[in-house]
């Protein structure tokens, strides 16, 4: 329809049915751009997470350097052609360390979220059942957990279990249990008394069938969205603990550890701190943006 005269195009556009007819290709492109522009944050965050996934899977394809081996004579080189992110005090390539570090930071973050979601869902569903005693017990447990400040909780866990990646994940994960548990408990109570659950009993379905076909799927509906936002928070919390020396120990190229190491040289060299810091910040923002977009979409649906 590119040969449509202007008057024809005008009639098409003012089609009373409200549907826009095929217009000039320029308009179509403009519309695509408008849509893309509207989703720019989401798209940028999505692109960043794709890149991150690639980094996690194949860091060795993106850098030739080893994150742990350094040339002590080439310490604290500013970013240049051979070392795009420069080198740290021990002459290790900052780019390689940042790329490999994603594995540690993200896997601890995901692990901690998995602990929060897993136990939160289990306890939340148990608390949403008929038993008042069980519900009270679980709710008070949530209160106890969330009354501890995060860092204090982590210190407590690390004191008992010792330092290390797994223990940091446990510390952060336990602190997040009430967040998911409370949502799941409320959803369970709502769904348990919902008309569609009663209706399923009227069909003659068993308790187990009602649980797995109606209750559980509806209760878990909101979890992926909340978890996506929460992963960002968790990654930040894990890195903070690492920064304090409670997590993985040097020379592990974890972002929090790298930030801690860069502190001593920050006055003379900015690059060992800024690059892992930027990676951490962008990752947290990307997860939050995606999570919030999903949440908006999810809530509009209801």
């Amino acid at each position: 329809m590119s040969e449509a005269t202007p008057s024809e195009a005008a009639t098409l556009l003012s089609d009373p049915s409200g549907r826009t007819g095929p217009a000039a290709p320029g308009a179509a492109i403009r519309r695509v751009i408008a849509v893309l522009w509207q989703w720019k944050g989401f798209l940028a965050a999505g692109a960043f997470l794709l890149l991150l996934a690639m980094v996690l899977a194949t860091p060795h394809l993106l850098t030739a350097y080893d994150p742990l081996e350094g040339d002590a004579l080439a310490g604290l080189r500013a970013p240049n052609a051979t070392h795009p992110f420069g080198t740290d005090r021990l002459g290790r390539d900052v780019l390689a360390r940042t790329l490999y570090g994603a594995r540690y930071s993200l896997s601890i973050g995901f692990g901690a979220t998995a602990i929060s979601v897993g136990f939160g869902v289990l306890l939340g569903i148990a608390g949403g059942q008929k038993s008042r005693l069980l519900d009270e017990t679980i709710c008070r447990l949530f209160d106890v957990i969330s009354s501890f400040p995060g860092v204090l909780m982590a210190l407590l866990v690390v004191t008992f279990l010792g330092q290390g990646m797994l223990n940091v994940a446990i510390a952060v994960g336990v602190a997040g249990i009430p967040k998911f548990g409370r949502v799941v408990r409320a959803q369970t109570q709502l769904a348990r008394n919902a008309d569609y659950v009663t209706q399923a009993y009227i069909y003659g379905r068993s308790r187990a069938a009602v649980f797995f076909h109606h209750l559980l799927p509806n209760v878990l509906l909101a979890i992926p969205v909340i978890a996506t936002v929460y992963v960002g928070t968790t990654i930040l919390a894990v890195s903070s603990l690492s920064f304090l020396g409670l997590g993985p120990q040097p020379p592990t190229p974890e972002w929090g550890v790298m930030l801690a190491e860069s502190r001593d040289v920050l006055r003379i060299a900015w690059w060992p701190g800024v690059f892992p810091g930027a990676a951490l910040t962008l990752t947290v923002i990307a997860f939050t943006v995606i999570g919030n977009a999903l949440q908006r979409r999810f809530e509009r649906r209801g």
Binding site: D195, T198, Q199, A200, Y201, I202, Y203, G204, R205
Partner: protein, 583 residues
Amino acid sequence: MSCPIPIRSSSRSTPATAPLVAIEGLTIRFRADGPHRPAVQDMDLVIHPGECVALVGESGSGKSVTARSLLNLVGPGAAVTARRFEIDGADARNFGPADWQRLRGTFAGLVMQDALVSLDPLRTIGREVGEVVRHHRLLRTPAEIRDRVIRTLDRVGMPDPDVRASQYAHQLSGGLRQRALIAAAIAGGPRLIIADEPTTALDASVQKQVLEVLRQRVGEGAGLLLISHDLAVVADLADRVLVMRDGRVLDAGPTGGVLARPRHAYTRQLIAAVPSADSRGSRLSSSRLETAGGPTGNSVIVRDPLPPRPPIGIDTVLEARGLTKVYRYPGRAGDAGRLAALADVSFSIRSGEVLGLVGESGSGKSTCAKILLGLVEPDAGWVTLLGQPWSGISEKTRRPLRRSLQYIPQDPLSSFDPRYRVADIIGENLLSLPRSRRQDRIVALLDRVGLDAGYLKRPPLSLSGGQRQRVAVARALAARPALIVCDEPVSALDISIQAQVIDLIAELQSELETALLFISHDIGLVHHLADRVLVLNGGRVVEQGPVEKVFLTPTQDYTRTLLAARPGPLTDRLGPPSPARRE
């Protein structure tokens, strides 16, 4: 294109009264709907003091939006235009926010439909009612305000007004809440009352009281804009009526005239579709009103008969004996903590029979339905289904029998799993069928209820109220039940849609010879559909028997009260309009 509104020729108004509201060419557009679909189009509306004007129409017809525009409460995103928009003699098109604010509460009071959400849960009824007086500084001292509040509550028939004034909304019953809302609307002494479906959620007897309060205010000289989909209420109260559909006024004029000789086919259909004793055995949706010739000719409703019903079977499908259920409230001792929801209720349903269950809210209808559905165990008494014990057994023993007893709820949407589509919803009741044959059966069931295969993949949210109820009917039929419990299945639907769904239920019932327990507060509807009727009050059976006998020659006072409370049958008013009607 609107019908001209006849100039008021009533003898009741004094000649010098200026109209409270005079609107011409009102058009309301919502930006979200686009420019081509106005919510209200070219509407004329005049309300005089001492006059009740009714807006009638189905949901989405634009009646509520029109009413809200009188107080500039249509909301953002709406464009209101009019050739003439005079409120209390002043051109309201130039009003600023302060002008509107002055009007609200003092000139015009708004009574909304849902009293529970319209009252602030954190404020006492007294504060709520006194709000308008305080805000507009109509009275100064707390004692004066309190006095006005108590008197207003008294006016709307609130028992113990000084006690109620210090109570909160949740401590009041639905009827009292609605009266509190009316009190709040009239406390400022407004000359115009806008009542948006003020009695829709109420029982017949409470509805009567609420309408009486409004009628009294009109008698005192206030103007009333009544919005309702209930033609019987409108016929009872309104001087003039405007019938709306899709934002247009289809019919307008004095109530008697419009109801007797409606000009528009939609109004005719609306009047003819009201179920009553006269409509028994006929189709509601195809009923039409025909006017005998001449300007004074009376109208008659012409109805098509439903297919003849097979005789009621002799075997009992369900029998209930001595059902008793007492709810206990913790923390209260003795009788104060006990509520007898059901006391010694006995009845039986034979195959292919329709048993109507009527009663006001709190009469035990829902408890009875829950016991029959096997969701609640009775404290005493027993139920048998198809000759086998149905109460006092474990869920496991009950499960195989469940298919024989199905349910059509009042609100089908909440009974659908939100993740499911139409095919999943019906398919869940067909799990015994192999997968390959399930799809064909679902399509056949949809066809049965008048929906085509295109609906299979539709999410229930995208269906209209009538379509949702059709899906619920198809789902119940999927189990080939012997008995279906219908709990107010059409009370949330517009009259025209209600007529279609009732016709569908009646047709399928006689074709499949399924027994129905039909729970409803609408006596006309029960009279239309049921073979026998059971009247419940306070958990006890007041009266039961053949529907004609109970409704035409009731033996109990309570049944008589219930029958008297409903507005009289519409057909009584279908004669030519006479000035004598307004004594």
